[in-house]
Structures are given as structure tokens and as C-alpha cells.
């Protein structure tokens, strides 16, 4: 490489680190918070603030007792200063909780926030036919399309409402896929989760619209502990969208969500995530810690498909997984994970094959720029009884510049000799030849990178619902502005 070329590359890499997070702003809404720290007392306060029944309090207290005996895991290939769990505020709710018939009644401040994000709810309602359950700092403030959904018997509400109104379903399924003691963060979440979404699709019902929740962390220093429970009864179908952006903060924000999916016989769940939480500044200060446990269980002939586009957070620890319990069930995982500046990600999936003729597909695409570190960690486990099961895995990494790192940790355990497993992995750089080719056709370097990255991620982006794919593409471009390899 000539000196001149090297210099211009360095300059461009400089530019990467000077690209600031574009969604950094806070909304000035009065909040009701409790003191910092976690204790049995705090768990009781959270439960009582939410007017929860006794069984729910018991569940939380059990989880708290489990959690204090557990240790934060160290095995992920990420480096960060462990949060001080006694320095986190575990509950925060906007003071007035307005009941809204329409989105016009929304707090003007809050509305402004959404406008800045380019998420016009009215537009979304009209254009995308999306029912939006907005979670702003832990408590749902607006729910739409509820009526249309209830005609079909679909329940789509906040988990707090579900605990009050559908205790039987919640009691039966909460913690059934991700048990409290599954890991450190799931135990923490089970003790203090403030809100989240609940969804139930009755037998044979095809959900007529994409269900969507936008998450935001708004209160400085407030950890957000989302809890999502989605149950698709026999033969039902649903597509669920989850998208996130967070305002800029100096201190690290802790996020430990739990998502549980239950796909009964012949049910089909598609769960899509676009995650763009504040990744920290160009010196690696601040940013969200994102420790998420997502898991689904498939019964006979059921299918769960996870799609994620991860561009945010300072540290990501996330493995959306499928337990393929029923015969002929299918699990899919499509992922694009982008890391830039000092971001670190350890993400992947677990496919646990228990039933016969079960099938799983994993397509994971990592993109690393700046001084970031991106890891794929995946487990494919084929148990003794999972005859004729199949897995296909493809893990690709794309590197930009020479200061980032990428690792792949595929774990494969096969206890059945009628099963078939395929694993493909590649690591590539955006080639100078590719860039020059694009340049020669009049396409500038920034545009060329966006084009090449989009091509690279196509298999995953194609899985997203249309309106989400556009947003995801925009996010990729913003996240990689100024990067070059």
C-alpha cells in the first residue's frame, strides 16, 4: 500500500470515529422513580407500585433470592467494567399514565421524541398497518389497534396489564421457556422487570397485522428490564417487530431483557428486532449494556424465526435461541451485527434439536469497523432422539480497517448419526478493488460501502418485513458512515 493511500485510509478511519450518534437527545418528561439499588424491599416496592397479585410478588422474590447467589458470567469475549448493581434505579414510570383513545392525546414532548426519530405514529398507523405498543421508560403509554385485534381474540398488551387481566396465561407460561435461574441476567430480570409486552394469538388465528413495540430508555441511569411473553396457540401465525433507539448518555445504562416465545403445534412466529441503542462515544465512554435472553420453544410442526439487525449498544450479549421440541419443527436465525468505534458484541444463537425431523438454519453476518470487536457464538445441539434432523449454519464476517476484530465460536454437539449438519464461515474485507470498481462507475466511497454492505446483508434484510427493512438499511448506513477498508 502506498503512503498516500495509507494516509487517506487513516483519514477516513478518523472520520468513522467522529461520526456521532444521531439519535442522542432526551425527552423532558416528569418521572416517578425509586431510590437506587436492589434489595428485597425494592422488589416489594416494584410489585406493589404495579398492584401485583401475591403470586407475582412470590415469583419476583424467588428470582431475587436466586439472583443474589449467582455470579455475573465471564465467558463472553467482551471486556467491560461490571455494572454496580446497587447503583441502578430499578423502577421508573412517567408520573401521569394517560389513557389514550387516540395517538393525538399523546404527550407533546413524547410525540416530539418520536418525530425526531422519524417514527411518525400516525404515518405508521396509516401506512404500515401496525399496532404499536410504545414502551417509554418501562410503562406503556399508548396502545393502538387493540380493538381490531380483540375482534380476533388476540391479546396484545403490556405485561403489567396481562398480569392483572390474564393471570392464568401469564402464570402458566411466564418462565416456562427461560427459567428464572437460567442465567444471571434472566434472574435479575425476573426479579425486577418493570414492563414489556404480552401477546396471545388464539388457535388457528392468523394475526392480520405486524405487531410492533418501540422501546426507549429515557430516564438517566434507569435500567430497563423488559419482559416479553408471546404465545402462539395451535395453528396460529404472528409477526412481531421490536425496534429500539435510546438517547445519548454519559453513564452506562444497563439493559437486561427476557423474551419468551411459545409456538404450539403448527404455529408460526416471526420475531424481528432492530436494535440501535446508544453505543457510547468515539472514545468508548457511555453506551448501553445489552444483556438479553431470548428463547422460543417449538412444539409439533411449529416454526420460530428470529431476525435481528444489531447496530447499537456498547456491549451486546445476546443469543436468540430455539428449542425444537416437537417433531418436524423449524428454527431460524438471521442476524446482522454491526460494531463500530469501541463497541463489543458477543451474539449468536442456540438451536436445540429434540424432536425428530427438526430443521434449523443460521445465517449470521458480522460487520466490524473502528476499534470494535464482533463475535459470533452459536450452539447447535442435536440430541439422541432428534433423528433425521438438519442444521445449516453460515457465519460471515466483514472487516473494515485494520483495528477491529472478529471471532467465530461455533459449538456443535451431535448425538445422533442420522442427522446432517453443515457449517460455513468466511471472513472478508471490503476490498480496495471493489471500492475502486464502484468509484470508477461514479459511485463515491461512502455510497460504495453502503452498497457493498447491503449486498453482504441481503440474505438477512430480505427476512425483515418491508417497512422494517428500510429502517434497518438506514441504520446500517448511519452506523458505518465514514468507514472504509
Amino acid at each position: 500500500m502506498s503512503e498516500k493511500k495509507k494516509q487517506s485510509e487513516d483519514e477516513l478511519l478518523e472520520k468513522v470515529t467522529s461520526t456521532e450518534y444521531k439519535y442522542g437527545f432526551t425527552t423532558d418528561i416528569e418521572s416517578d422513580t425509586i431510590p437506587k439499588g436492589l434489595s428485597e424491599e425494592v422488589v416489594r416496592i416494584i410489585s406493589s407500585k404495579k398492584n401485583e397479585p401475591e403470586w407475582m410478588l412470590e415469583y419476583r422474590l424467588n428470582a431475587y433470592k436466586t439472583w443474589i447467589e449467582m455470579e455475573e458470567p465471564n465467558w463472553a469475549n467482551v471486556n467491560y467494567e461490571k455494572p454496580n448493581y446497587q447503583d441502578v434505579i430499578y423502577y421508573s414510570a412517567p408520573k401521569q399514565k394517560p389513557v389514550l383513545d387516540s395517538l393525538d392525546d399523546l404527550d407533546p414532548e413524547m410525540k416530539k421524541t418520536f418525530d425526531k426519530l422519524g417514527i411518525s405514529l400516525e404515518e405508521q398507523k396509516k401506512l404500515a398497518n401496525v399496532a404499536v405498543d410504545i414502551v417509554m421508560d418501562s410503562v406503556s403509554v399508548a396502545t393502538s389497534f387493540k380493538e381490531t385485534l380483540s375482534e380476533k381474540g388476540i391479546i396484545f398488551c403490556s405485561i403489567s396489564d396481562a398480569i392483572q387481566e390474564h393471570p392464568k396465561l401469564v402464570k402458566k407460561y411466564l418462565g416456562s421457556v427461560v427459567p428464572t435461574r437460567d442465567n444471571f441476567f434472566s434472574a435479575l430480570n425476573s426479579a425486577v422487570f418493570s414492563d414489556g409486552s404480552f401477546c396471545y394469538i388464539p388457535k388457528g388465528v392468523k394475526c392480520p397485522m405486524e405487531l410492533s413495540t418501540y422501546f426507549r430508555i429515557n430516564e438517566a441511569g434507569t435500567g430497563q428490564f423488559e419482559r416479553t411473553l408471546l404465545i402462539a396457540d395451535e395453528g396460529s401465525q404472528v409477526s412481531y417487530l421490536e425496534g429500539c433507539t435510546a438517547p445519548m448518555r454519559d453513564e452506562n445504562q444497563l439493559h437486561a431483557a427476557v423474551v419468551e416465545l411459545v409456538a404450539m403445534d403448527d404455529a408460526d412466529i416471526k420475531y424481528s428486532t432492530v436494535q440501535n441503542w446508544y453505543p457510547g462515544n468515539d472514545e468508548g465512554v457511555g453506551g448501553v449494556f445489552n444483556f438479553v435472553t431470548k428463547r422460543g420453544i417449538c412444539y409439533k410442526n411449529a416454526k420460530i424465526s428470529w431476525t435481528q439487525v444489531e447496530t447499537g449498544s456498547a456491549v451486546t450479549w445476546k443469543y436468540p435461541s430455539c428449542i425444537l421440541k416437537g417433531d418436524n419443527s423449524i428454527g431460524e436465525f438471521f442476524s446482522v451485527a454491526v460494531t463500530n468505534n469501541f463497541q463489543q458484541a458477543d451474539t449468536g444463537t442456540k438451536m436445540i434439536h429434540l424432536g425428530k425431523n427438526t430443521k434449523s438454519t443460521i445465517i449470521a453476518k458480522g460487520i466490524c469497523a473502528g476499534k470494535s470487536n464482533g463475535n459470533y457464538r452459536g450452539l447447535v445441539r442435536i440430541s439422541k432422539g432428534a433423528a433425521n434432523s438438519r442444521n445449516f449454519s453460515q457465519c460471515d464476517s466483514l472487516l473494515m480497517g485494520d483495528k477491529c476484530g472478529s471471532h467465530t465460536f461455533p459449538y456443535i454437539e451431535v448425538k445422533n448419526n442420522s442427522s446432517k449438519i453443515e457449517h460455513e464461515a468466511t471472513t472478508s474485507k471490503i476490498g480496495e478493488d471493489q471500492l475502486f470498481y464502484c468509484n470508477q462507475r461514479g459511485i463515491g466511497t461512502e455510497e460504495a460501502i453502503a452498497l457493498i454492505v447491503n449486498g453482504y446483508c441481503k440474505d438477512v434484510l430480505n427476512q425483515l418485513p418491508m417497512e422494517f427493512a428500510v429502517e434497518a438499511q438506514k441504520l446500517l448506513e448511519i452506523s458505518l458512515e465514514g468507514s472504509v477498508g
Partner: protein, 257 residues
């Protein structure tokens, strides 16, 4: 249109071009021939602006602009097109998407309105017909799994779509069988008019049976050592390069003394 003056360029410490002078006018076809390693592809790359080459002396004027001051994309936007000897793959990006991006970026740079999808598709269809390209081609990914002939035809298709003022065809004939060669050459001939110019870089005379040049230049050891009409190409075919290169080497050796 293009005036190359005393161009000296190379990679790192090795100088490859040692003083090139070349003038190309609108409506002309120039062939640059020469043995392997004479600097043909380097000349094409330097005109297009590939950064790994360093220009140490001389200048390139293109319609009043100093090309050496412009980035590769700006040169392309001014109307300089390079048909690559080894076109690269861009996985996941379809031919139509790539060309659409290319055209819209070039129009944006020159202050033109974007083309409507309808017009763009019509133009694509017309140019496909011109180059005997079958349906289904537009949705294939850029050069991914293309045969040698398909890659070269894809280059000429882009040239047809972008309508450049100056096209440089770098060893477009290499790796083509006679049928593919004929198709590509016919395409180039159909796109030729009095307002554009073509530089054909080739090792063999074969391509010049189909694309007939107005001028032939022989490049050797970083210099143009002989220029002439199309007859020169035939002469080279017959006698090889030795008779001129030896003469030139002697001349430069004497000068050194």
C-alpha cells in the same frame, strides 16, 4: 478530448510509465498495443485514478480539467469509463441495482434530475437488445458466477448505459472465445459516435479485426515507441514486437550514454 503529457508514474519505488504522450480527440479510436509488462494496464489505471499508482511527473487534461486533481468517482462523473480487465464481484447486488446506483450518482454529480424507473428500465431493455443480452441477466448479482465472456459483456453493458465520453477498454479481448469477442466488439462499434472516443488496450491484433482503430500506438518499457495507422497493427501481427522494441531499446541505450 484527452491530452496526456510526459506522464511518469509507478508503484512505490518502481517507475512503470516513463513519459507518455498521447492525444485523443472525439470520434477517434486509438489502439494501444505492446508486449506484456510494457505498462498498458498501468496507463489505463492512472487515467481512471487508481490510488496505488503514484504520478511523479506530467499531466492529464480531459476537456479542460486536470484529471490528476480529481477523485476516481469525479473522473467517472466527467465521462471517463474503464472497462476492467478483471471485473470484480459485488455479492448480493444485482446488475440492475448497481447500474441504477451508478447512473443516479453520476446524474446527481452533474446536477441532472434522477431518471425515472420507467425510463431506466426502457433504456436497459434497449441496450440489452443492442448487446444480445438475454432476460434474467439484470437480476443476477454483479459478476458473481459470471463466465469470462459474461463479465466482459457486463462491462460493455455498463458502458452502453453510462454513455461515457471516453471509454478505455483494458484487455477486453482476454479470455474471450471468438463468438464472445465478436459480440463485445459489435457492441463497442454500435456505441461509437462522433462525440465519444475509445482507447482499446490489447496484446493481440485479433480484436482490431473487429474494432478498427484510427491510430495504433506501441507501448514498450513505459514509453510509446511507435505510432501509426491501422496498418501498424497488422505489421505487428506479422512480425511480432521485437523489430520495434529492439530499435527503441538501442535508441534509449544510446541516449543514456
Amino acid at each position: 478530448m484527452l491530452k496526456v503529457k510526459n506522464l511518469k508514474a509507478g508503484i512505490e519505488d518502481s517507475q512503470i510509465l516513463k513519459g507518455i504522450n498521447l492525444e485523443v480527440n472525439a470520434g477517434e479510436v486509438h489502439a494501444i498495443m505492446g508486449p506484456n509488462g510494457s505498462g498498458k494496464s498501468t496507463l489505463a489505471s492512472v487515467i481512471a485514478g487508481k490510488e496505488e499508482y503514484e504520478v511523479v511527473e506530467g499531466n492529464i487534461d480531459f476537456e479542460g480539467d486536470d484529471l490528476l486533481e480529481l477523485s476516481p468517482e469525479e473522473r467517472a462523473q466527467k465521462g471517463v469509463f474503464l472497462s476492467f480487465q478483471y471485473p470484480v464481484e459485488i455479492p448480493g447486488i444485482s446488475v440492475s441495482n448497481f447500474i441504477k446506483t451508478s447512473i443516479s450518482e453520476q446524474r446527481k454529480a452533474t446536477g441532472m434530475k434522477p431518471m425515472t424507473t420507467k425510463d431506466l428500465l426502457k433504456m436497459m431493455r434497449d441496450k440489452m437488445e443492442l448487446l444480445n443480452i438475454k432476460n434474467g441477466y439484470l437480476s443476477r448479482n454483479m459478476n458473481e458466477g459470471f463466465s469470462g465472456g459474461e463479465k466482459k459483456r457486463n462491462e460493455i453493458f455498463q458502458m452502453a448505459m453510462l454513455e461515457p465520453k471516453l471509454s478505455i477498454l483494458d484487455e477486453t479481448d482476454s479470455g474471450l472465445d471468438i463468438d464472445a469477442l465478436r459480440i463485445v466488439a459489435n457492441g463497442v462499434n454500435k456505441l461509437k459516435n462522433k462525440n465519444n472516443a475509445t482507447i482499446v488496450i490489447t496484446h493481440y491484433q485479433r480484436l482490431l479485426d473487429y474494432i478498427v482503430p484510427d491510430f495504433v500506438h506501441v507501448l514498450h518499457n513505459g514509453r510509446i515507441i511507435k505510432s501509426g495507422g491501422k496498418k501498424l497493427a497488422l505489421e505487428l501481427e506479422e512480425k511480432g514486437y521485437d523489430w520495434i522494441t529492439k530499435e527503441a531499446d538501442n535508441k534509449w541505450d544510446k541516449l543514456k550514454i
